[in-house]
Symmetry: C2
Subunit: 334 residues, 2 copies
């Protein structure tokens, strides 16, 4: 099993990316291909003990795609970027999965133009795993398609169902549709039509889910168009971050507060672990012909290591193949 990693993408590249990649090699025994500036990668790799050096390959790529450039243009023009080189290796069968903490837009464009969609899938979607109170859940689409059709939502749900079963080991994942009320007749035309399609499907569709209930984690697959999904993803992070920033500032404001904060350290730590996105790897791009994982832009080594684990689980679970089959069955039924 070979996994290509974009060594140059993300806020902490290449240091943390390479560190995480090597942790994965040592822990999971996978083969890793690091793509990017050869000199920089080599000097980082040499810092670590590697159990089996044969498992690490470096492939040179002279360019980097940044977050500031047009994703589609960048994918088309920067043929020597770590992202394009890595995706081409995947496409051509030199690897089984690709991971990048770089530009989300570029990864989406590369997924479409270089790797290609699964037959029958109209739109791939971005699906991060998000920690909730009673368990993690998948959010689809978290931002690949700002505008969607009801048919896309149904396909997202089918893909999320396969992933939840095969990678997250959930038996009969609950599927919920984000809406501004639980009643069937609530929301926009788009949401109502999506509801009708989901209701007819064989999925374990539990109906509408109100945004207030999303953090409870009672629903395994949370569906929304890419605009709403992205709002949910970012607001979730923002509210949690703000609460902890404010608490932290207050805790440091007096001696007694500091003492209280010290005593509660295990609580905050447990909380941080339970709600730590780095535990879950990255967001998978579902609907393309290979395993593509978008790690968080601020990924540290642990997040990258867990993204590799996620990729391994996707490959072992035959996620792409099963999705292809499910979509074929769905289209035959239509």
């Amino acid at each position: 099993m070979k996994i290509v990693i974009d060594a140059m993408g993300g806020d902490n590249a290449p240091e943390e990316i390479i560190k995480g990649a090597i942790m994965a090699v040592n822990e999971f025994g996978v083969d890793i291909i690091l793509v990017g500036d050869e000199v920089k990668i080599k000097s980082e790799v040499e810092k670590y003990q590697i159990k089996d050096k044969n498992k690490v390959t470096i492939v040179h790529a002279s360019e980097i795609i940044t977050n500031d450039e047009s994703p589609t243009m960048a994918i088309r023009r920067k043929k020597h970027s770590s992202m394009v080189v890595g995706l081409k290796m995947l496409k051509e069968g030199y690897a089984d999965a690709f991971i990048s903490a770089g530009s989300t837009g570029a990864l989406l464009a590369g997924g479409l133009f270089i790797v290609g969609r699964i037959d029958g899938i109209d739109r791939p979607c971005l699906a991060p795993i998000i920690p909730g109170e009673k368990g993690n859940f998948m959010l689809l689409d978290a931002g690949a398609n700002a505008e969607c059709k009801p048919r896309n939502i149904l396909q997202f749900a089918i893909m999320g169902d396969v992933y939840s079963k095969k990678v997250l080991g959930k038996q009969n994942p609950k599927v919920g549709l984000v809406n501004i009320g639980v009643e069937e007749e609530k929301g926009t035309e788009f949401v109502k039509q999506s509801y009708a399609l989901l209701k007819q499907s064989e999925l374990n569709f539990i109906g509408n889910i109100e945004p207030r209930d999303i953090p409870k984690g009672e629903c395994d697959i949370v569906l929304a168009d890419g605009f709403v999904g992205n709002v949910i993803l970012k607001l979730y992070e923002g509210v949690a971050q703000t609460i902890f920033d404010v608490l932290k500032r207050e805790i440091y404001s007096s001696f007694l507060n500091k003492l209280g904060g010290f005593l509660l350290k295990p609580v905050f730590k447990k909380f941080k672990t339970d709600f730590d996105y780095t535990e879950y790897g990255g967001a998978i791009l579902l609907g393309v012909k290979n395993v593509l994982i978008k790690a968080h832009g601020s990924s540290n080594a642990k997040a990258i290591k867990n993204a590799v684990k996620q990729a391994v689980n996707c490959i072992n679970g035959n996620v792409v193949e099963i999705i292809s089959q499910e979509i074929k069955n769905m289209n035959i039924l239509e």
Copy 2:
């Protein structure tokens, strides 16, 4: 100044509603008209000391509109409901503002069909005040219109601007448009067209705001269509609630944690006060011909008291009249 209050609406009606109304009479010296079941209201009112009993009037209404019925049907058919009776008194000039913690949908329908829109306003919007890290902000539309046009967004912004200046006392409120990226070209067609309209306006438009940054409270007026706005409102509440539930559970899990929790009590308390929605009254329905306030469904007495204060400020600030004038000017300019 006379304010009608729906004594029967909300999870804690009529007890907390009436308690809050009387607190408002005693503190602010306003005249209050309590609408609902006369017998129940009387027996509640008698529990309290009222400085000037002349300031409390009870108007009987035999029906109640619940959250489970169709709002439009309920408003049309339940002529004797506390909501319809109250709104009619407002419409006919017997009062200056109306407050209800009951069905949001019914209040919106009643606002449209009984009170009526301000000339030139296509769609009224629901605008709660939400606490953020650096200050509170207004969210429009928080759920009145699941589907909007760019023109509606511009009108919401103008109404929010008037309210922020006249009621919240903000000099030059910053207006931000919720989008999945800060760049002008991001998002759906609807968001891009709304951006263009806002950019041409005389508002202090600061561009797109990413959901991650909303809780920081750096933007005074946060604009979105009613679907996205409602998602933001409910997720904001849900994430904060979940974090505090989890922290609370952990704090009670061991003696040292409890001690730490005890020492941090002032921190949690300050946090609760800073982020307490009951401090801000309710969500105003902007764009109708009178002051209409939707208090939170779970409002306690304090929330109702503050909603009365908010109504007083709206009346004193001539919010409805100034909005009418601004919209007239806008339409003349077109």
